[in-house]
């Protein structure tokens, strides 16, 4: 039998991994749940956040946590730009998003992802880079938990819970929530749908780029122009698992994925663990499309 120590260690690291996956997916969750569009280029904005953190580190000595804040601020502008170039035309004046609009955004963001990742190769070169940041470790039994990953875990949970509180307790948050349920009703309570949708998009991108910065702690030299191709599918699976629009769903989906991937590796070869983790999407879509938890 596989040693308990191994499973416990896998569980712990799986949880931490899951949390960083969760925060990386959270921006997608917000936009998907509110504006009901899926950004295929999601991975490329994560990449942008990661490179942002890298350059902030190289030129300013910023550590990833600090960079996450800067990236988050930048993300707001990026989000507004994205909304008005890609989404505004499709959403303006509509009561519900049509299938056609869904397809248009799907395809246009697909083109955007091709454009961004390959432009990044030209701009940043294909070299893999990384940030050298090791604040040390903290002992837990026989394990040495890396503080960097621990901070990221805490921040991830913080960001996600803040968004829950924000949507529930603030006026703007409520407006966003209303928009996600019924666009027309939003107008009736005096909120401008475009302002609401664009703000939600901006917030989503802000979180995405901050997530990209936080991700760099886990990938010592994994920052490269094509990294989006890995984190986008992971994000999609997480959002579906947790339920699009359910803020805490990001955590749920992320933790599920992270734990499944890491713990399964104690029993099956790694690639099969990943295959299983990805395929989890299918039964969830078949039987619980609103997410694992009702």
């Amino acid at each position: 039998m596989v040693a308990l120590a191994v499973i416990l260690s896998d569980l712990l690291f799986g949880i931490m991994l899951g949390c960083v996956f969760a925060v990386v997916a959270h921006g997608l969750n917000l936009i998907w749940g509110v504006v009901k569009v899926v950004n295929i280029a999601h991975g490329e904005f994560i990449m942008l956040g990661a490179y942002g953190a890298y350059f902030l580190n190289v030129f300013g000595g910023f550590n990833p946590l600090l960079s996450a804040v800067v990236d988050g601020a930048l993300g707001i502008f990026v989000g507004y730009a994205f909304y008005f170039s890609f989404l505004h035309r499709e959403l303006r004046g509509k009561e519900r998003i049509t299938l056609r609009s869904e397809m248009v955004t799907l395809v246009s963001t697909f083109g955007l992802s091709l454009f961004m990742s390959n432009l990044a190769v030209v701009a940043f070169t294909g070299d893999f880079v990384g940030i050298n940041w090791s604040p040390g470790t903290v002992a837990l039994g026989f394990l040495e938990l890396p503080l960097g990953a621990l901070y990221v875990t805490i921040l991830a949970v913080l960001i996600i819970s803040t968004s829950v509180v924000f949507l529930d307790r603030t006026y703007i948050g409520n407006a966003i929530k209303a928009y996600s349920q019924d666009i027309t009703a939003t107008q009736l309570v005096g909120a401008n749908p475009t302002k609401v949708a664009s703000l939600a998009t901006a917030l989503g991108f802000s979180i995405t780029m901050a997530g990209g910065a936080l991700l760099t702690v886990w990938i010592p030299t994994g920052i490269n122009p094509y990294m989006g191709a890995l984190y986008a599918p992971i994000s999609f699976v997480i959002v579906v698992l947790g339920g699009p629009g359910k803020m805490l769903g990001s955590l749920l989906g992320g933790l599920t994925l992270g734990v499944v991937i890491d713990v399964l590796q104690a029993f099956v070869p790694v690639s099969l663990a990943y295959a299983v983790a990805f395929l989890l999407l299918i039964p969830v879509l078949l039987f619980r499309p609103e997410g694992i938890v009702k």
């Binding site: 899926v38 295929i40 890609f86 035309r89 299938l99 869904e102 397809m103 248009v104 799907l106 395809v107 246009s108 697909f110 083109g111 955007l112 992802s113 091709l114 454009f115 961004m116 990742s117 390959n118 432009l119 190769v121 030209v122 191709a229 599918p233 999609f236 699976v237 579906v240 070869p269 690639s271 099969l272 990943y274 295959a275 299983v276 990805f278 395929l279 999407l281 299918i282 879509l285 078949l286 499309p289």
Partner: protein
Amino acid sequence: MRIAGLGVTFFGLLALMLLLLILPFAFPFSTSVILINLLFYTALAYSINFITGMTGYVSFGHVVFLGIGAYALGASADVYGLDPVLGVLLGAALGLVFALMIGLVTLRFRGVYFAISTVVIALAALNIVLELPQLGGSQGIILNLGFQPYSWYYTIWGIVLFEMLITYYINRGKLGLGIRAIKSDEDAARSVGVNVSALKLYLFGLSGLFAGAGGAVFAWTTSGVFPYETFSLNFSLQMLAMIIIGGVGTALGPILGAVVVYLPSYYFLTVAIGTQLIIIGFAVVVIALFIPEGIVGTLKRRSASLRELLE
């Protein structure tokens, strides 16, 4: 002159294929092999056209069928010494079978969910193949089937010909009406009696069959199968870009898209290195936002006379 049911497009494509038929005899190998690649990408474009072009179900993970076909030929040639042409047929058959199995599950999901599930399946397939030593595992399979430009050429030519004919037939016939109904409003189509599930499955099966055949040819011409290269999402992206640019759902769109996307790539390999995909990405964005029917579709929409000429 118009024969009932067959328009200019049909004869135009036929003429093109006849021309392509005799080209290998008139030009040196270095030309034929470029055309083989062009025909390969055309075959992929037509295959994804069946599902994404005609029904609007975006199959981001379509490369999985290419991979299945490639491994079908690779494994059968390596282990059983199977003749590559039979390997192509095997690839087509397996592509069809897997497409039907996968489609039974995933075609129930609409829009975005279908798209994501195809990605997930392609990634899972990659990871599973990595752990199968019978298929070479992560080391892949290296083949020595030789340099066979004529066999390669006529095999892929035949595949593209079939695809063109079937595309044309589907668009023109009763099936075409049902399919266009699905694309504009699936629920309405179902309510007027179109057997939506069967149609979608039929098209998805076709797309898997031809992608599998194309994938087998790919393994044959590149003398090997390697999991990361063969299941690369890049293939899906290129396939999609080709039909989006060319014109989704049409009979001309895929070949036009393949020509526009593929032929200039040699220019990009020597002059503007690395910029091809940037330009294609940009083109896809512009087309999706402003002329979503692609070149052929938009020409048809804007001009009544062209509507009859182009299909």
